[in-house]
């Protein structure tokens, strides 16, 4: 095994302190991978010069796929020849990031053979990120991954790797089966994931309830967030138990209810469920006493994205409620119409959310065949600039 040989004075500072150190990780990996050595060197240089040393992009990949690999080349390859190529592979994670020790070891072994031995567990979109390899290794690595039952995730103008919260596997609040939905959607659209067919990227994220533990409302073009339609399930004995245990139900629970639809008279908690906006707060605070209702399903939202180009967007309501058992069908139907529209009207590098802003929500709804409903807006327009359509 290679010994530590580089002088990494600056990076060494980042081995100090209680939080686990990525520098240690790189050094660790460098025991079996000489690549990591040059990575350390180049990184130390970046720390000295306060700038990155990677060149812009570069199209590399595995045969037949248009994405899944991010090409990366050093701009100082003479100094750090081992990272002259340093591409990452995005490996599609299992729904909810559940693993067995065995599956993890398989991944480690493959990556040790074909890459730097460094990973991100996980990338921001959700993939297992294999961090750094050479062009030649891509195809063999992909082959071994396939044999182990893994496939690549997305990059480029494709459907990106969907992700989901732990959901029914580990959470009492999951209003639909996020793991299954994520898995099914991923398999349903393998072609769209691997062969970029769109004007730009398209992300799905699945959260089981309005707590939105995968940040889907902020980061996915199509966000599916579990919710319920009927009454919050309430266990009065447990409410009393919380009160007895010292919880200030008036201040901690009722006063924080955004729709002010809860009343606590010192003994009995009453919820006016028609006024409830399903924010989860009361349930979060009293998980033993309150639970989402029984008529469960999801809200489908559309169009979230980071700021580039036209400013960040949060996803907005497209369908207020779809029963859990109709979710997959509804989603598929919607998605096909949305993609068709985007395909036809989207400009290059225009996310669906930006397109909707550009053409107007009503025109978008017309195109995908949904009726406008007041739940889609926080308020109707306040400007009188209405494009009336010919006499209807």
């Amino acid at each position: 095994m290679a010994d530590q040989k580089r002088d990494t004075k600056l990076l060494d500072e980042l081995e100090k302190g209680p939080w686990p150190s990525f520098v240690k990780e790189i050094k660790n990996a460098s025991k079996t991978s000489p690549v990591c050595d040059d990575l350390l060197g180049q990184l130390e240089l970046s720390y000295e010069e306060k700038k990155g040393h990677w060149k812009h992009g570069g199209i590399v990949g595995v045969m037949g796929y248009g994405g899944g690999v991010i090409g990366r080349y050093s701009d100082v390859p003479e100094q750090f020849p081992q990272v002259a190529h340093f591409h990452t592979m995005r490996v599609n994670q299992p729904s909810g990031w559940f693993y067995t020790s065995g599956s993890l070891r398989t991944l480690c072994d493959i990556w040790e053979r074909h890459g730097s031995g460094l990973t991100n567990m996980h990338g921001s979109t959700g993939d297992i990120v294999f961090l750094g390899t050479k062009t030649d290794e891509l195809e063999p690595c992909f082959k071994e991954l396939g044999e182990a039952g893994f496939d690549l995730g997305g990059s480029g103008s494709c459907m990106r790797t969907p992700s989901a919260c732990a959901g029914m596997a580990r959470c009492e609040w999951a209003c639909y089966d996020t793991l299954k939905m994520c898995n099914d959607v991923t398999h349903q659209y393998q072609d769209e994931l691997h062969r970029p067919p769109f004007p730009y990227k398209f992300k799905f994220k699945f959260s089981g309830c309005p707590n939105d533990c995968v940040a889907s409302i902020a980061r996915s073009d199509m966000s599916v967030i579990g919710t319920w339609k009927d009454e919050i399930q309430q266990d009065d004995a447990e409410v009393a138990a919380y009160a007895a245990a010292g919880m200030d139900i008036q201040n901690d629970v009722c006063a924080n209810c955004p729709s002010k639809c809860m009343k606590w008279d010192g003994k009995k908690l009453s919820i006016d469920n028609h006024e409830c906006v399903r924010c989860m707060h009361c349930i979060n605070v009293m998980p033993k006493a309150l639970r989402p209702g029984k008529e469960r399903g999801a809200t489908i939202l559309i169009g979230a994205k980071a700021p580039i180009v036209q400013g960040a967007l949060l996803a907005s309501v497209l369908v207020p409620f779809v029963p859990a058992d109709e979710l997959m069908d509804t989603l598929k139907e919607l998605v096909s119409r949305v993609w068709e529209f985007w395909d036809e009207y989207g400009k290059n590098r225009e996310r669906i959310g930006e397109l909707i802003q550009r053409v107007g929500m009503s025109n978008f709804l017309d195109a995908i065949g949904l009726d406008p409903i007041p739940q889609m807006v926080t308020a109707p327009r306040d400007n009188p600039y209405i494009f009336f359509k010919g006499e209807e």
Binding site: P18, W19, P20, F22, I26, N28, A29, T32, Y47, K50, G52, W54, H56, G64, R72, N92, P94, S95, F98, Y99, T100, S101, L104, L107, W111, L118, T119, M121, S124, L131, F150, D151, C165, A166, R170, C171, E172, A174, D177, N183, L193, H194, N211, D212, A215, I217, A218, N256, P258, R278, M280, H281, N284, V285, K288, A306, P307, I308, Q310, G311
Partner: protein, 360 residues
């Protein structure tokens, strides 16, 4: 029979999650009743059946060597029947049905340098991006700042003593891969100089119309330089977003003296109580100061501590600020309010104070 030529395996998608679920999970899938927190980083989910699932959550640097992953696998084998998962914020969760293993596992994790915590009203892991480790776009490093900040907030990870959840994210450029735009505290790498056009390489590497169209402010104009078709940047109109660089390698923005960090606060994602919110500008610029970015660490810690001291129970950062008002936020944190804080992008007018609701 003769061996068939091996068919290349493609489009198989990810393995099914079902293969990786703990037997207790399989049995109680969708039938969980409630959960309790046994200690910071230790959860107990109770099923309708009465079965219990214990979770121990460990902090991770996200950038993991195969060595550390194997360590996790070993610990999972030792205590969890081999079952574990990662969270949406890159922590590792060990899943088990035996309560008795919790303490031993925690000890092993700590011994190996992995803290347990991040649940409930703690600081959890910092969602972050590539930085100088892998990206060409970065205005700063990612992992280094995360390490320095988490060192400073270590006790806030291992204790649940904040008013509410506190979610920090970092992105090394305006592409915001860390999706910092809805975080309690966001650390964002920013450039402050327009791209330096490389007129030599531009004609070969970029499509001029696409390049011009990429600029949100229309700052890029066609130009002929040395008789070659190229572009020029109207510097006044450029706000250094880097989108031109994304579509064209000949427009680099890197500039050691002018790249650095901005800090944003008050965003959230959950629908709990209030609707999701974008993060808002707190500090426009702090120079890059590797290896430990002390000014950034100090700024973040200051905001966390002022929040911890002043917010009410259950109040997320943004909820607290909305209650006390932004003027008070700047007063309490001692952060300077500057011209940069006033929005001048598309919907700017809607951020102007359009009432006389003022506190004196």
């Amino acid at each position: 029979m003769a061996a068939e030529p091996v068919k290349r395996i493609t489009d198989i998608g990810p393995p099914s999650y079902e293969k990786f679920l703990h037997p207790v999970i399989k049995k109680n899938y969708g039938l969980w009743k409630y959960h309790e927190t046994l200690a910071p980083g230790v959860l107990c989910h109770v099923a309708e059946s009465g079965d219990k699932l214990f979770t121990v959550r460990a902090g991770s640097p996200r950038l993991l060597s195969v060595q550390s992953i194997r360590l996790f696998a070993d610990l999972a084998d030792k205590y969890c029947g081999g079952y574990l998962r990662f969270t949406s914020r890159n922590n590792v969760e060990f899943l088990m049905d035996n309560k008795d293993n919790i303490e031993a596992l925690k000890k092993d994790l700590l011994a190996n340098g992995f803290p347990v915590g991040g649940t409930n009203n703690a600081v959890s892991n910092i969602v972050h991006t590539q930085g100088w480790v892998h990206c060409h776009s970065s205005a700063t490093d990612a992992s280094g700042i995360v390490k320095a900040v988490m060192d400073a907030l270590y006790d806030r990870f291992t204790h649940e003593n904040l008013p509410a959840k506190l979610r920090i994210a970092l992105a090394c450029c305006l592409n915001m891969c860390g999706a910092v735009h809805c975080s309690d505290i966001a650390i964002l790498g920013v450039h402050r100089k327009p791209p330096k056009v490389n007129h030599d390489t531009l004609p070969k590497t970029c499509e001029v119309p696409t390049l011009i169209a990429s600029c949100p402010t229309g700052a890029i104009r066609p130009a002929t330089v040395n008789e070659k078709q190229s572009v020029e940047v109207v510097e006044d109109q450029c706000m250094y977003c880097g989108n031109c660089y994304t579509v064209c390698p000949s427009m680099p923005l890197n500039d050691p003296d002018n790249d650095g960090i901005s800090i944003w606060v008050g965003g959230k994602v959950s629908n709990a109580r209030t609707t999701p919110k974008f993060s808002k500008l707190a500090i426009p610029f702090i120079p890059n100061n590797p290896p430990r970015w002390p000014e950034v660490v100090e700024a973040v810690v200051n905001i966390v501590e002022v929040y911890a001291k002043n917010a009410k129970k259950y109040e997320r950062m943004g909820e607290w600020i909305e209650r006390i008002g932004w003027p008070k936020f700047f007063e309490l944190t001692g952060i300077e309010f500057t011209r940069y804080h006033i929005d001048d992008f598309k919907n700017a007018g809607l951020t102007y104070a359009r009432s006389t609701h003022i506190k004196f």
